[in-house]
């Protein structure tokens, strides 16, 4: 920290600590982010304090009572796991879904429940007795098969029902998301910005609707796939500084449709909207190449 004078240093240290805890007041964030962008020592200090913050959360799993037997009373209900796994199955990529779709894939195949009763009493040596045994074995075999099929069908029906429920709830979520996007686009203060693809992504384009009161709708197409460890990050460049809006979730076909909240900083004197390529997880200030840029028309 030798680069800062003492008084400045302690103010910056305060801000870094608060930033690590997400507790820095919004109005102080741009100045700190600007400083962080040019000060490796402070960035390092931030990472250290963020590790402490991560540790606060992780410590909940390390305390003695969290591991004790009575903690089980305060655990998520057992069906939550099934709900999560079933919902994941229902939304798996088609190629991936083809493999684990039979519910029995992880459980051993249903055993014929009645098979245990096939212990045969010491047979007499008469042919009739053997025939009777053979017939009963055939019967038991058939019954077991029926039981197995019935179980399989019940399990299939359940899986299908759960998949349908998951599809319905994902459709509901889509409608809700669409409605939320329409709220932004229809806002009285909504501004439209067209973004052009830059030399790194010449075929890409994007459109933004931003409203100070409702947030931002961002749509893009033809975004190139990124190398591992990279992500697209969206920025509103204001007269003060670039403000991160968040990371973009790109669909396999290169499109993006997102509704994002706008902080007060992002709505103050915006001059441009841009997308850059950054390390996965994002960065506080843009470092990578710009792939999409659009100028905000002055009011």
């Amino acid at each position: 920290m030798s680069v800062h004078t003492h008084a400045l240093s302690s103010a910056i240290d305060d801000a870094i600590a608060a930033y690590a805890l997400d507790a820095l007041d919004a109005r102080e964030i741009p100045a700190l982010e600007q400083h962080l962008a040019s000060c490796p020592a402070c960035r390092e200090q931030l990472v250290e304090l963020q590790r402490v913050v991560t540790g606060i959360g992780l410590s909940l799993g390390e305390s003695a009572d969290a591991r004790s037997a009575d903690a089980s009373a305060d655990a998520p209900s057992p069906i939550l796991r099934d709900r999560i796994v079933q919902a994941a199955r229902a939304t798996a990529e088609p190629s991936a879904r083809a493999l684990p779709f039979t519910p029995a894939s992880s459980a051993p195949p249903a055993r014929p429940a009645v098979a245990t009763s096939t212990v045969v009493a010491p047979a007499t040596s008469t042919v009739v007795a053997w025939l009777a045994v053979a017939a009963s074995l055939v019967l038991i075999g058939a019954m077991s098969w029926f039981v197995m099929m019935a179980r399989q069908q019940t399990a299939d029906a359940l899986t299908q029902q759960q998949a349908a429920a998951a599809r319905a709830s994902s459709l509901e979520a889509e409608v809700a998301a669409l409605e939320a996007r329409m709220t932004v686009i229809g806002a009285s203060d909504a501004q439209q910005v067209e973004l052009q693809g830059q030399p790194d992504a010449p075929g890409s384009s994007a459109r933004v609707f931003m409203s100070a009161s409702r947030g931002m709708v961002f749509t893009a197409k033809n975004l190139p796939a990124l190398a591992a460890g990279r992500a697209y990050q969206l920025w509103v460049v204001t007269k003060q500084a670039p403000v991160s809006i968040g990371l973009l979730t790109v669909q396999p076909d290169g499109t993006v449709t997102s509704l994002l909240p706008l902080s007060a900083d992002a709505t103050l004197n915006p001059v441009a909207v841009a997308v850059t390529v950054e390390p996965a997880g994002g960065v506080p200030s843009p470092t990578g190449p710009k792939v999409l840029v659009g100028l905000v028309a002055p009011h």
């Binding site: 507790a23 007041d25 990472v47 590790r51 540790g55 305060d74 979730t249 994002l260 996965a280």
Partner: protein, 183 residues
């Protein structure tokens, strides 16, 4: 017992059972954190479900960064739990307010660096001990920021403490825990 990264790799390839195994390994801590923030059992479960749904969608991307999975889950859980807390608190106002504040907290600061999520369980335990040992006025301030998502100004107002004092205490508290971690 498969490593988190191995599981994440399988999740990225569409293996839902691997998601179940990741859940077995980390759901308890995620639930404990969400419950601490939200108090209501069903709200905490909703957050945990939301977090694992997000992991299912984003595993491909995250797996590439090779950062700590436990740290990532904790960060996701905290962000979502606090979003939910805020939206719950905002709900009574929704009837009259025309423009509800966005409830999604981008929380980009914590995503900035994968190293910020890498904390060993030993260090986490030390941090937990150091947190408990903090003077009560420092500890309550960390609680308000971490578990309630309050900003420094909110905390100053809530605790009727000068903003400057809040800032100094917050820094001192984090630095004390930081010192415990490296010892």
């Amino acid at each position: 017992m498969q490593s988190d990264h191995h599981l994440l790799d399988q999740i990225a390839n569409g293996n839902a059972e691997a998601l179940g195994q990741l859940y077995d390994a980390h759901a308890r801590i995620a639930f404990a954190l969400a419950k601490r923030v939200l108090a209501r059992h069903e709200d905490a479960e909703e957050v945990v479900q939301d977090v694992f749904a997000y992991v299912w969608r984003e595993a491909v991307r995250y797996e590439a960064s090779r950062a700590s999975v436990a740290g990532w889950l904790v960060m996701l859980t905290r962000t979502r739990a606090i979003d939910k807390l805020r939206s719950r608190q905002a709900r009574p106002d929704l009837n009259q307010a025309a423009d509800p504040a966005p409830v999604i907290d981008a929380s980009v600061s914590h995503l900035a660096n994968p190293e910020s999520l890498a904390v060993s369980s030993d260090d986490a335990r030390r941090i937990g001990v150091a947190l408990t040992a903090l003077p009560v006025e420092q500890r309550s301030l960390i609680d308000l920021a971490y578990f309630e998502g309050l900003s420094q100004s909110d905390i100053a107002e809530r605790t009727k403490t000068p903003l400057g004092t809040v800032k100094t205490r917050m820094r001192t508290a984090l630095q004390t825990m930081r010192a415990a971690m490296s010892s």
